[in-house]
Subunit: 409 residues, 2 copies
């Protein structure tokens, strides 16, 4: 892609009112635009990153036999009355609920447990129809009156929510633990190290849940974790303090701020019982369905990447989810640059080629701000070679095109 | 994919209350499920079809230099007040508008002109920043009190909406006409023949717009078209009657019911002027932006395919957007079937393999209902060969695996 054709260009200054770093950097670099507090457009660069995040999640979930679908966002009240959640004060606070001009009551989805149960009620008769594992990427809405964390916490955001339905508690936990193991792999592929943290079940379940937390000083969560083993708990449930002895080993408890990028809930049979969805077992007996749900917020992951990977000049995207593989700059070497662009694309690499007639300084600043992992420069100085520089390294190298292709692999 | 693992299985009977054929067939075959009137889950089969429809649209639009992004669905009232559309009676009737618990007013998107203008206001300064061509696939909401046409007309549906912004009327029409020519190609790739029909601009523009209509007796639209040339108008604006002489040639006017699968609007400068978004031309003068928008409804296209391509046994999907390339059935030849499945997948074909232990009749009925274009059967009768049958043909052939691979190409 040619930078001259990309919408929009980078901005010289952060928008007024932007308080968080991810908001400032992602807006300046042209990844997102704020429509209102807590609501953002994914601009073409941001859209590309989120698509790559989604593709990694999709690949890993499909391997577990999960199937992708797409459920509606506008929910009739009656289905949320079945579970009893519609009227809960903590739900009324965050769920957009309204009457239309015909006095029909609707809510905007902040989660989809009730809708999945409704689906199961129509298609699950016997134990032979279980387990079911379905997920979608869809918009979620939460009424957040003070949304000041950029794309980390919004009124409207993207969520991957997976739901699994099982005949027994044992089978549910088998899959729950499989997902608990796969999530850190997903985040690692995206470029993020996570802590798996025990937490409360919130408006979802009285059982404990697990959160996937990225350590980050601007995080809204506080976690306590062991410096030796994998013990980790959210401050909501941790009983102790920094420096305590770990309950599981002789390690010491540390504390940190963190960003929750995923969460999983062993919901049990409450939804099934409340919504009266049962399956028939091999003996002809009716039983409730064991149910669990599993979330990852791709747009929040984008915000987390911006918070974690940056320097004074801009963003530094991990290779796996960067909007392009290569940022190509030509300083009065247009023909050479076009050949390199063509050769790279022929080899399957995505190139953002800055073809503008602006100063070298402006091109370098744009490249640093956008944060594509590899920058290539051709100029009088590079002779017949190409300057290869990684965004997260200081030094650069002069390489032939063949060497560049080899390095990019 | 193994049919035993697919969620959900086909249903023996159509759901009660389903009035339209697309609703009955798509629900029975497991493509969609109704959450409430006019609101459907895309089940895994339906999701696959819609993803393929989206990919065809994406490929064709990207060729024109259009860029994909994703805009929010929940819109603050003030932005819709800028264009004056919030308070229009015809908008209030179809747009979900509500106050949240903090008395803030929001609307749910049924279109995104205002939001694109807001984006342009932040990023477009001079003529050098134009044209801009951006699109997204996103959820749209319309308050349809009597939504009885299945997935053809819903309260919630998927829309591809493209927006283009230009310096001059001429440049706008250049792109408008380019899209007018590309749309029929897109639909042809999907398997649908469309008529390009002149129509009114509705709540979008006082100018005429163009609709892309598929002839279908259950369509909600009525069009008049020439039997010789490409003259075609929606009944809203056509002045004449069936049998009249065509105003453009010596052909005769015919009339038909049709389904609108796409529409394009040359919006002009109204949005730009109302929302005060201007660009500076080469002489330093401020000018309004010429604006146009272009829609295709991928979920409505799914419904149209179901209405147009079916027989008494079920659906008949075009090859390009079928959920799978091949429906494989084994009658007590499991090992052979697995080998064929593996070989087909190795060659890049998507296979739905019915591995259930049910009768041959049940497997054949399922295959016919789902409507994948090619059915392969291995059984005692087929010997070392494979029975190859196209869903839209009566006769079948016995082929070797190599011949099957050749035929599928």
């Amino acid at each position: 892609m040619r930078y001259s054709g990309l919408f929009p260009k980078t901005l010289k200054t952060a928008p007024s009112g932007a308080e968080s770093l991810n908001h400032k950097l992602l807006v300046r670099a042209g990844y997102i635009d704020q429509l209102m507090a807590g609501s953002f457009t994914l601009l073409p660069l941001g859209f590309r990153v989120v698509e790559k995040i989604k593709e990694i999640i999709r690949e890993e979930l499909n391997k577990t036999g999960a199937q992708e679908l797409l459920m509606p966002l506008l929910h009739p009240r009656d289905i949320w009355d079945q579970s009893g959640r519609w009227s809960k004060p903590e739900v009324r606070k965050i769920m957009y609920q309204f009457k239309d001009i015909h006095d029909k009551e609707f809510g905007l989805s902040f989660t989809h447990e009730e809708i999945v149960m409704d689906l199961l009620s129509k298609f699950i008769q016997s134990y032979k129809d279980l387990p079911v594992k379905v997920y979608h990427f869809s918009t979620k809405f939460r009424n957040e009156p003070r949304a000041k964390s950029g794309i980390l916490r919004g009124r409207e955001f993207m969520m991957k929510d997976l739901y699994s339905a099982h005949t027994t508690e044992e089978d549910m936990y088998l899959y729950y633990n499989q997902i608990k193991d796969i999530y850190p792999k997903i985040f690692k592929r995206i470029g993020l190290e996570v802590k798996v943290v025990e937490a409360s079940g919130g408006v979802f379940t009285p059982s404990h849940s697990h959160e996937f937390q990225v350590l980050c000083r601007v995080g809204e969560d506080t976690i306590f974790y062991c410096d030796k083993c994998d013990f980790a708990q959210n401050k909501e449930i941790f009983q102790g303090q920094e420096g305590s002895k770990c309950p599981n080993c002789d390690g010491k408890i540390l504390t940190a701020k963190s960003i929750e990028v995923g969460n999983i809930f062993p919901l049990g049979t409450d939804f099934s019982i409340n919504q009266k969805v049962f399956y028939t077992d091999a003996n002809g007996k009716q039983n409730p369905i064991w149910f669990a749900s599993y979330g990852i917020g791709p747009t929040r992951v984008l915000g987390t990447l911006a918070e974690v990977f940056n320097d004074e000049n801009g963003l530094i995207f991990p290779k796996s989810v960067a909007p392009f593989d290569v940022h190509l700059i030509s300083l009065s070497k247009t023909e050479e640059a076009k050949k390199i662009e063509e050769e790279l694309e022929k080899n399957g690499f995505e190139v953002l080629y800055d073809d503008r007639e602006v100063t070298a300084g402006e091109k370098f600043a744009t490249a640093d701000l956008i944060g594509i992992p590899v920058r290539l420069v051709v100029s009088e100085k590079t002779g017949g070679k190409i300057e290869f520089k990684q965004r997260n390294k200081k030094e650069s190298q002069l390489l032939t095109l063949e060497e560049v292709l080899e390095k990019l692999k």
